[in-house]
Point group: C2
Chain length 374, copies 2
């Protein structure tokens, strides 16, 4: 096990297929967030249609599309908005080129099996005019020819870093930023995010036409101090589960010492700073959504606050969610034998956490950034 840092990130993909533990089955949360930010996407598509001149074909990309039905949520909305806009103006529909991107290890087969029904839903009138392709590469590299993209969407992706940050050797008791962490840990994560996000913007700036629009949705945090009440509780709980397995002798201590999540949830200031410094895009708007985080379920408070079995049920559901976004990565580093025990523990910790979480503020939020290529 314990492959190199680079090969670890090669394994960074959501759990494929359509089985019990797959991303396709467990990504309700991401779907719900999309429904909340949908008006932002629609507004940006409409603005783009006004500001951009077309060569006859509108090219749209969804970056970090993962697999399953969610993949087509944003793309459907974007395409429908384009169709409606053209129909309202009484103009002939343009051709539309829909590009779905994710890392080569992602499960494109599951996504591609849904393409016929996606095209079917676009109805007869669009027949032969909407083309779908998959682009298997990291969005921290060039994905498309120069000046070819009109609209870019990315949801729940750019909080994933291109690699595990350098200089985390002393972050031995945690897989992320967690109170207490050695002081350099936050700095390493922040630097990696700044470099990665800046590179992401540079690559897109080369690929997008002038006045092209981009909407990015990702997990952020409310405060500048990333140690404030463990700003991404999912990783703190996962750290605790792995440390338990170390003390039980199931996981080697050296394995957890060398493992860190390639993830950073920036605050609004981090995001704004990188965009301004990179300079290719104008910020139309940065919005934040204080969305129900997956480990804080309303129904518990509203219906049966004391019901432990319900809390356990929700704990299990949250464990499934954490599992579908981390399993390939954990398997690549620790092997597959740890997956069941880790997420059994995770469900229990989460159930306990739910007892107290209603009295704690939610430290994460969803950040939605609307950008225009200048």
């Amino acid at each position: 096990m314990s492959p190199s840092r680079d090969s670890l990130v090669d394994a960074l993909s959501m759990k494929g297929g359509t089985g019990e533990h797959s991303y396709a089955t467990n990504s309700h949360y991401q779907r719900n967030v999309f429904y909340e930010i949908q008006p932002v996407v629609i507004e940006n598509v409409r603005e783009m249609l006004v500001e951009v001149s077309f060569p006859g074909c509108i090219k749209v990309a969804d970056l970090g599309c993962s697999s399953g039905q969610n993949t087509f949520l944003a793309m459907s909305e974007i395409i429908n908005t384009i169709i409606q806009s053209y129909q309202q103006k009484g103009e002939n529909l343009p051709e539309m080129d829909c590009c779905l991107n994710d890392l080569p290890e992602s499960d494109f087969n599951t996504t591609f099996n849904l393409v016929p029904s996606f095209l079917e839903k676009l109805k007869m009138e669009v027949k032969g005019r909407c083309f779908v392709s998959g682009v298997p590469n990291s969005f921290y590299s060039r994905l498309f020819p120069s000046k070819s993209l009109h609209f870019v969407h990315s949801s729940f992706s750019i909080h994933w870093l291109s690699k595990i940050p350098d200089g985390l050797e002393n972050n031995t008791r945690s897989i992320h930023i967690k109170d207490p962490s050695p002081p350099n840990v936050f700095k390493s994560y922040l630097n990696q995010f700044k470099n990665d996000f800046s590179l992401f913007l540079k690559m897109r700036s080369e690929e997008m036409v002038p006045n092209g629009h981009m909407v990015l949705t990702f997990v952020g945090r409310k405060v500048s101090d990333p140690l404030y009440q463990d700003c991404f509780q999912v990783w703190s709980l996962l750290s605790d589960c792995l440390l338990d397995l170390v003390s039980e002798g199931v996981v080697k201590e050296s394995d957890i010492e060398s493992f860190n999540m390639p993830f950073y949830n920036p605050n609004e200031e981090d995001v704004r700073e990188v965009i301004l410094k990179e300079g290719s895009f104008e910020i139309s708007k940065i919005e934040t959504f204080d969305h129900i985080v997956p480990y804080k379920i309303k129904c518990i408070k509203e219906e049966k606050e004391e019901d432990q079995s319900l809390q356990m049920e929700v704990g299990k559901r949250q464990a499934s969610w954490a599992r579908c976004i981390t399993e390939p990565l954990l398997v690549a580093h620790f092997g597959d034998a740890i997956i069941e025990p880790v997420f059994n523990k995770y469900a229990h910790y989460m159930a306990k956490y739910l007892c107290v979480s209603n009295h704690r503020p939610n430290m994460t939020l969803i950040i939605v950034v609307s950008l225009t290529r200048t």
Copy 2:
């Protein structure tokens, strides 16, 4: 079992993955044919580079790419030819957009896992300039925006029809054209081929730029009479194996009565006629390669004509080849329980056939058509 004719063709894909029976493992034959026709592809790419004016990005498509290493054979050759041509002229390299197409059910995951090494091989100098995408749809429909493609390649694909021809209800004792066949059978197959190939050309004509080039390689036959010595022996043998299973009670008679291969191997005249009638392309050249067909192995004649165990070995190899190109289709119609018995029988029949085949002429050949979009 026995799904409708349309859903049957939905299952038309080569066997995915990289296992023992996969297309990736068993497609040496297709690879060898490519090496033989490689000069034709290179010549056509060079001609295209002379005749076409570029907007900065050259877009190339491989249609019916299947999965595994073979997928990148033609694409590598095409891209390398472009690079060399530009380097010889001392000009800056253009961007290159490589599109890999197959049906949505194909195993794109196996192909996409090979994309990083494909890009790696293109060396540092091309870094960031070559983009790879997968296009999951039938090539009997539009796949790409209008006038976007510069070069199209398709190998071992367009002998596969878009559907099982209509009117084959009386073709009860065979899964294809086989002596004896009811007289309408050949006509049904020929009509379906003409319609499909014509549609293929029409779709490509809309997608390609003026003077764009296309090279199509497929299985053809030498004679006009398709009954002459069972012009595609692979299906005759497969018919015999399935009929054996009917007589053994393993396969229902009605299942074989309703099953026909969506395959047609045209002769040169069929091909020429459709291209001329469709009218969008000029034939630069039609070449035929009387290639070693997979069921006729030189080594048997040369080394040990009498060695039955060697013949059985070759029989098994040919059964693996026939299996990797038909398994998903057979499973969709007959269920997966028949696969092992069918191909065990197939290996035995093939071994027997090899004893006599050296005294029979080879009735199939590879047809390579070079076309220019007028």
